[in-house]
């Protein structure tokens, strides 16, 4: 166990080392402060409660948008992947919404719904749904037809079919879109926050960027990344290991 756990820690350490070297070479703390220089501002932001406040706001938005986008995107992707007719109808919409700039969607949502939390989450969700749908559609197209036939003949219920026949086949696609999904969502949340919210990591990052305070930008960015690493190690990877057990057994 310890041998396995040391891998990630080592590689995080290596990354930190690289950063220290890069910072030393850059020799301009305004452009790239060394990791050590971030500790004090980090502790300060933490103790004043500013960082938890903004991080919390962002996490709530990310969580909402993630759940909504995964549900909607999976449903749409499955429908498109399984039925050529649905696909032909929705495909152009998918391409259009996929390539609609985040800015446009965000501004329209804010103007229609108002500068509210709901508008922010809607904007992010709308931005992300086509991404999820695209990935899941490919997964749905690759579903095994023999297993489908088996499920049909044995009259499995819709739930059983979904949980035990479809879902395990979609697992790699779900994992891929969940992981790259959270990343994209969080990037859009950043934009959403600086365009119309008064809280959140994106708001802080943009503000400190305007002030050209790279250290603070990094403090906020890395706090979120820290949370994501925790989610990855505590939730996603154990789940994936479980879901993948049959492959390696």
């Amino acid at each position: 166990m310890t041998g396995k756990a040391s891998g990630p820690l080592l590689s995080v350490a290596a990354l930190l080392g690289l950063w220290v070297v890069a910072a030393a070479l850059t020799a301009d703390p305004q452009i790239l402060p060394s990791p050590l220089a971030l500790w004090q501002p980090f502790v300060r932001e933490l103790s004043t409660g500013t960082l938890p406040h903004h991080l919390g706001a962002t996490l709530v938005r990310v969580a909402w948008a993630f759940v909504l986008a995964m549900l909607l995107g999976t449903a749409i992707g499955l429908a498109m992947g399984r039925s050529e007719r649905v696909n032909r109808l929705l495909d152009p919409w998918l391409v259009i919404f996929l390539n609609l700039p985040a800015l446009v969607l965000i501004v329209l949502c804010y103007l229609w719904i108002g500068l509210t939390e709901a508008a922010a989450i809607t904007a992010v969700t709308l931005n992300k749904v086509p991404n999820v749908a695209t990935v899941i559609r490919e997964g749905a197209r690759a579903l095994d037809r023999d297993l489908d036939a088996m499920a049909k003949v044995y009259r499995m219920s819709a739930t059983t079919r979904f949980l035990h026949v479809t879902l395990p086949q979609l697992a790699p696609f779900l994992a891929a879109s969940a992981r790259s999904g959270i990343a994209v969502i969080w990037k859009i949340v950043l934009v959403v926050e600086f365009l119309g919210r008064s809280s959140g990591v994106g708001f802080q990052i943009h503000m400190y960027f305007q002030l050209f305070d790279v250290a603070m930008v990094l403090v906020y960015a890395l706090s979120f990344i820290g949370v994501m690493l925790a989610v990855e190690w505590a939730i996603l990877q154990p789940w994936e290991r479980r879901a993948r057990r049959w492959r390696t057994a």
Partner: protein, 301 residues
């Protein structure tokens, strides 16, 4: 008794916030019969969406932008705030003496090709030296902080930025080659025309008669207080993000220098500026506002 509320959407770190905070902290808002609520945003665009989306009653913009919106049918009204404008700065060791020395070099510009300072400087170069500044230099448009940073590192022959970045660049040793104010006077424009101001929707003003004047009064009170009393700046200082005393002094001086004279905007002088902008920036900049739209400037005394 319920006072009318003005919800102001401003850049959290904007210089306008210094004034608004001072208004609230010194109770100038209630004194003049309204309650001020400040919403901080991280980007200018956000403040505009807030007003348009009805989440705020007031934001900050230059009046040319407001004129454009008004001409396009929005009922925005402009209340003057500052006449601070940009300048073209050159690195400390630059040997440039006037704009002609920019020829063949790079100019870093925050705010894009329709930036008003850039347009005025182009007109000035044309009139003064017969030089097409746009054709004879290479322009690098970038986000203000990036222009600030690369300008300081000496990447450009000249830099044009927003005034508070300019103040920090000056504090960092850069030298002002030509100020937009000078250029504007040379072009026959009135340098006292305040470019920057608050804007509100007309129906908001109608719903609360006299609110524009009340707000303007509060704004003037703060300006007077800060001009007279050095000590009052100490309350503002934490917001100013000045890293050094030099930066603090420069920001303070530039801010005070930007305070316009009390009174309404001279619509005629504004008309001349707008005509020049329309000529230089074309429809892209002014939209349908080829002349100052009726009722653009609030009649504040």
């Amino acid at each position: 008794q319920d006072l009318p509320v003005i919800r102001a959407a401003v850049l959290q770190i904007g210089t306008v916030n210094w004034e608004l905070t001072a208004i609230r902290e010194n109770g100038f808002d209630t004194e003049h019969g309204f309650d001020l609520e400040v919403q901080g945003y991280a980007d200018n665009a956000a403040t505009r969406i807030a007003v348009e989306g009805g989440e705020a009653d007031m934001a900050v913009a230059d009046w040319i932008w407001v004129a454009r919106q008004r001409a396009a049918g929005k009922d925005y009204v402009f209340i003057p705030y500052s006449k601070a404008v940009g300048a073209l700065l050159v690195p400390e060791d630059s040997e440039a003496e006037d704009l002609t020395d920019m020829a063949g070099g790079k100019i870093g510009i925050a705010g894009g090709p329709l930036d008003k300072s850039w347009l005025i400087l182009r007109a000035y170069a044309q009139q003064e030296y017969g030089m097409d500044l746009k054709a004879e230099t290479e322009q690098v448009f970038g986000a203000p902080p990036l222009i600030f940073k690369s300008g300081l590192s000496g990447d450009y022959a000249g830099s044009i930025n927003f005034w508070h970045f300019l103040a920090k660049m000056k504090a960092g040793g850069m030298r002002e080659l030509v100020s937009v104010e000078t250029a504007a006077s040379e072009l026959g424009l009135d340098p006292d025309t305040p470019l920057l101001g608050y804007y509100m929707k007309e129906d908001f003003i109608e719903a609360h008669p006299g609110i524009a004047q009340s707000f303007y009064n509060a704004s003037r009170d703060v300006k007077d207080m800060l001009a007279d009393d050095d000590g009052a700046w100490e309350a503002v200082r934490p917001q100013m993000n000045a890293k050094t005393d030099a930066q603090f002094e420069q920001l303070k001086a530039d801010w005070l220098a930007g305070a316009p004279a009390r009174g309404p905007v001279d619509a005629e002088a504004a008309g001349r500026l707008l005509a020049l902008m329309a000529e230089l920036g074309g429809e892209e900049l002014v939209g349908e506002a080829t002349t100052v739209p009726e009722g653009l400037f609030a009649d504040v005394q």
